[in-house]
Amino acid sequence: MEEEKKQIKIMKRGQAVVTDLFIAIAVFIVLITITTIIWDLYTIRLKMRQEFEDMVIKSIQISDQLVKSSGYPLDWEFKIFSDPDYIKIIGLAYDDRKLSTEKINAFRTNITDQKVKDLFNIGLYNYYFTIKEKNGSILLAKGNNPVGSFNTVNLARIIVYKNEPRIMEFALWK
């Protein structure tokens, strides 16, 4: 009788330990799976956010450069016809937020899209530059229109062009 009790005791103790192990493994696997999925999800989200933030920051910097700077060299709009590499920095303003007609014409007609991307250092992205009337009608445009793109950052700035308040938009898209 004593021997039998001892046997039961040993068997039950063994079972209890195995069940415990199974539960622990199951919990561990579930936990690892959840953690991996969440980790993955947030890595993707973080990457998307980083990319979006990068696009926003680049767009803000570029739009600021366009509306506040005359570019470098200052007379690039007159020399770019003969020397496409003359321009080092693109800027369209002759005064703060006042855009020069000559610079805009030179920007539209004498600088290729690839050159614009190189100068703005936005090789991975496409861009679309527009100047609009206050009612939204497009006066002029340059670059590729981001039709159907879900990853687009479009910044509007209020500027003076041809002595009239107008809207300049710069879109960066992928």
Partner: protein
């Protein structure tokens, strides 16, 4: 049998341990995920909103809309005393919606830098001269001699500086001016050829103050204003919603100059949001 019971309890303890651990981990994961997602949610787009507001003020100054708003409220120089303390800027003068993209809204506020036009009072009438009747002479240009003037209603009582503007006589002798407010002597020192300011603050009471007496010789005093009184402010009539998650704001200093007359620097302030 007691050992079996004990084993069962030990198992329960292990499971509880695991359950607690899982709960703690899940709570930590959820909390960190929440804070990660909300920490820098709108920072860059908020920058763009503020830039748009700054652009807007720049354009409003360029087009003369800010000047027109001030002019419509205070009139042309020499200013009348008609400036309203809380004026509404008409949409026809400052129409921000024509420059802003759809769903962007902005309120524009213009204020002085604590030199209030609310108390800018033109001196042309000395009919209420107190007895004993002092010698004075008034014309459309202003008043000479000793005379009482009344302020516009002040919004709050306090100690304020006084600024008096004079016109010199044809001989171009610098005018001489002093004052009395109630029983308190007001010493005025010259700022430039035509303007005199009190050398220390003068006590003014709430509402109209009619016990200010000015003594002017060698010229006339044509207007005075109380400096540092509750600031003049005017704004567009749009209402700022209560449930905004973010509203951008900024200001720009501009000078109201019309007909070569420099009035004073003013602040134009924007409040911009997305609806």
């Amino acid at each position: 049998m007691e050992i079996i019971k004990l084993n069962k309890k030990r198992g329960l303890i292990f499971s509880l341990d695991a359950a607690i651990a899982v709960t703690v981990v899940v709570i930590i994961l959820i909390t960190s995920a929440y804070y990660l997602s909300t920490a820098s949610k709108e920072s860059t787009s908020q920058v763009q909103l503020i830039r748009m507001g700054n652009d807007l003020l720049h354009i409003l100054e360029f087009t003369g809309a800010l000047d027109n708003a001030v002019k419509a409220d205070i009139g042309s120089p020499p200013y009348s005393a008609a400036a309203s303390p809380t004026a509404t800027i008409s949409t026809s003068l400052v129409n921000v919606s024509q420059y802003l993209p759809a769903s962007y809204k902005a309120l524009i506020e213009i204020s002085d830098i604590k030199e209030s036009l609310i108390s800018d009072t033109t001196i042309t009438n000395c009919s209420s001269l107190p007895a004993p009747n002092p010698i004075s002479c008034c014309s459309l240009l202003g008043c000479n001699g000793s005379f009482n003037v009344s302020t516009l209603p002040l919004n709050r009582a306090g100690n304020y500086h006084l600024l008096v503007h004079t016109r010199a006589p044809p001989s171009n002798i610098t005018p001489f001016i002093s004052g009395i407010k109630g029983n308190v002597s007001v010493v005025l020192s010259i700022l430039d050829y035509n303007r005199f300011a009190s050398t220390y603050p003068v006590p003014f009471s709430l509402g109209i103050n009619s016990d200010l007496r000015l003594n002017v010789s060698y010229g006339v005093a044509d207007w005075f204003k109380i400096l540092g009184e509750n600031a003049y402010s005017a704004n567009t009539s749009i209402k700022i919603p209560n449930n905004l998650t973010f509203m951008g704001t900024g200001e720009r200093l501009f000078a109201y100059v019309i007909q070569d007359f420099f009035d004073q620097p003013r602040y134009a302030r924007f409040y911009i949001w997305i609806e």
